[in-house]
Symmetry: C2
């Protein structure tokens, strides 16, 4: 068994944490921003130093490749992203890039023999924080392999036209042209050139930590659906309109949120997660009864039958009137559970066992580029445990030891894949 | 008994509806805007035509006065406002100005004898839609008479510094200087120059209409309190964070809103009104469990004991944790019930009876300039019924007949006051 270097991992974590330092322990590093370019430059410099060849495709995805001993073997790729959400942490995305770099450096330093070329890859704009949507560039590169319902959300021309949420003017296409990182379309990840893909990521939940474990052997990305629930009431003056005549859309929405919790909890599926993260009230003035309220509900579970039952509960809001308000339930999107490649999952499990890593099987409730890559070539993921399960925030943390342990699992899993 | 002219009232309603026509049957006429100036010019022109003297004070409040037969008598003033909310209706505020103008025109046309000078007044910036707060200029003019807790919210220097909610730069003071309507401080409404004030306004609620009545004899402006209820949770990823560990601030807020409805309704006071009009969730992203949610609750009732009971229920949220979130209840403001002058209320009641108007006593749940004026001099209000109780929206409507009926009540009540 080989092991990655704690010292070198720590050094990389510290270094990347400077690129976009937001001053409270975390970073803001939008895709293609100056801060993201600093991260790309550092990656390029380090990868060139070990003799890797750097390629870019037309969506600025980057590929640093070490040749293997078999000239006919396809590449094994380890991929993640360097961009973050606003005021995000030092681990989401970047830990996968750091680990991939560390794997290549360890292979070179320890002269580990390998047949396949090995690639450390950066996906552009995974978060979609500045230019929505999330997973934009894997959505484009994998587009022709994706289910139709998902593929249509990632059409190349629409992605290039996506506007900055900050200035509402600059398009992603313009940012791409200016970035200096736009390469050739023929460099895109493709099944004829790539054998398998691994993505190492932080868990972003508390399951591993609560179980006293460091590493997650990921088996799937959960299926989900996302709908909007809308209530239409009647605006009126807060001081002059008697309660009995009111059609209060916010009261209707509050009752609906409580009802959904009660009914969904009755199904008794402890692994089910559902969230109302967004709520919009109109006119949202303290002296006016709201005439319109609209909230999101995001529901995730591995089993499509469970999702169906929850969906029926949400749909059921469409019927009885709450607070005399008309309700409308509007589907936003959904995806099926994406199962990772069994052989690759097995390599990760075996590597964790042989290294003596404290690990368990786990699924991913969050979306990742790997879920799109899984339609293109054998793919899997490795999770590093997240302290308190926090992510997408500055306190996001995983110890250097756990990061290194996870990178070692990646290294050995890749080497097992190489022996195929 | 004298009556106002249906034809002339209709004409005025149509004419003022053009100043700021928003294209859907209503208007947007911010205070001191070009549209508000058109309304002021038309008022000036019409009032000069009947020989009234026009004065302005230093907050652009306007006073059009007809002399009375007694040189020592103080003025009787009828006051309202010409400004509106965004996409407001053709009656809120302006109906009081139209009626005051119509009263003076009728007095002149019918040569009605009167001892006191009679004044038709425009209060500047009642809505506070562009330059908050609402009732700004009555708050300044009446400031030294107001209870301390209210007076501090209307300090002259702070009002002049209030910034436009649109450009966030222009101050109310700058707009005042540029308006051409800034006059002399000595022209302000004051008890040594004014005998009594009447304000005619639309009801803004459905009580009169539902009772089959046209006119409301207003006895008081309801006491109220306004608080913010804040919940502090923990943000986490919607897909990765198991339900059992969540601290979901929006779920806590939804439960709190339902709880407040249940508990407050148990008190069994049908005239009590309470409203959550505003809700703010952070970060308000569909994939993130909200870590902070804050909502308003506005509660109004005539009886301070009832308000106290409701306040205790709201305060009670501070204790038990909902959805594992900490709760904080923050007082915003409150006001005592303001009772109108009994003698003036009696004149309005008598006038309505003698005219055969379909009327009843009513209180005002909404705030009006009259509630501040009531601290300075004997004051009262008259309501014209609102169709469906709608106001602060373009469909706001009161028939020309009901407008004229209400103006006739105003005319005769003023004449009764004049006979004192």
């Amino acid at each position: 068994m080989y092991r990655c270097s704690l010292e070198k991992m720590s050094d990389k974590i510290r270094t990347f944490s400077k690129f976009g330092d937001a001053g409270h322990g975390g970073i803001t590093r939008y895709s293609l921003s100056d801060e993201a370019k600093q991260a790309r430059e550092y990656y390029t410099e380090k990868m060139k130093k070990i003799g890797a060849t750097i390629e870019m495709d037309d969506f600025a995805n980057m590929y640093a490749t070490l040749p293997g001993s078999d000239p006919n073997a396809k590449r094994i790729v380890m991929a993640s992203h360097v961009d973050s959400v606003k005021n995000g942490g030092n681990y989401d995305g970047i830990l996968g890039v750091i680990s991939a770099m560390e794997v290549l450096e360890t292979v070179v330093a320890e002269k580990i023999p390998h047949k396949h070329p090995l690639t450390a890859m950066i996906w552009t704009n995974e978060e979609g924080s500045l230019y929505p949507p999330a997973m934009m560039c894997s959505g484009v590169v994998c587009n022709e392999y994706l289910p139709e319902g998902i593929a249509k959300n990632f059409k190349e021309e629409n992605m290039l036209a996506s506007k900055s949420v900050l200035d509402r003017t600059t398009t992603f296409g313009e940012a791409l042209e200016k970035s200096g990182y736009k390469g050739a379309k023929e460099n895109r990840l493709s099944p004829d050139k790539y054998e398998a893909m691994f993505e190492l990521h932080i868990e972003q939940g508390p399951i591993l930590e609560n179980a006293g474990l460091d590493v997650g052997v990921v088996t799937c990305v959960l299926g989900m659906f996302n709908t909007r629930v809308k209530f239409y009431g009647q605006a009126a003056h807060a001081g002059t309109f008697p309660m009995e005549y009111r059609q209060d859309a916010l009261y209707a929405a509050a009752q609906a949120i409580c009802y959904l919790h009660e009914e969904i909890d009755k199904l008794g599926h402890p692994e089910l997660v559902y969230t109302t993260g967004e709520i919009v009230a109109h006119p949202c003035v303290h002296t006016v009864i709201p005439d319109y309220v609209d909230f999101s509900i995001d529901v995730r579970h591995e089993d499509p039958e469970v999702l169906k039952k929850v969906y029926q509960i949400v749909r059921g809001l469409d019927g009885p009137e709450l607070a005399k308000c008309r309700c409308e339930v509007v589907d936003q999107w959904n995806r099926d559970t994406v199962y990772f490649d069994k052989k690759l999952v097995g390599y990760v499990k075996q590597a964790a066992e042989e290294l003596g890593s404290k690990h368990q099987y786990i699924n991913s409730g969050a979306g990742h580029d790997a879920q799109f890559a899984a339609y293109v070539l054998p793919t899997t993921m490795i999770f590093a445990s997240s302290e308190k399960g926090l992510s997408h925030c500055e306190p996001e943390h995983t110890s250097d030891e756990v990061c290194t342990e996870s990178a070692s699992v990646l290294l050995n899993a890749v080497l097992k894949c190489d022996m195929e």
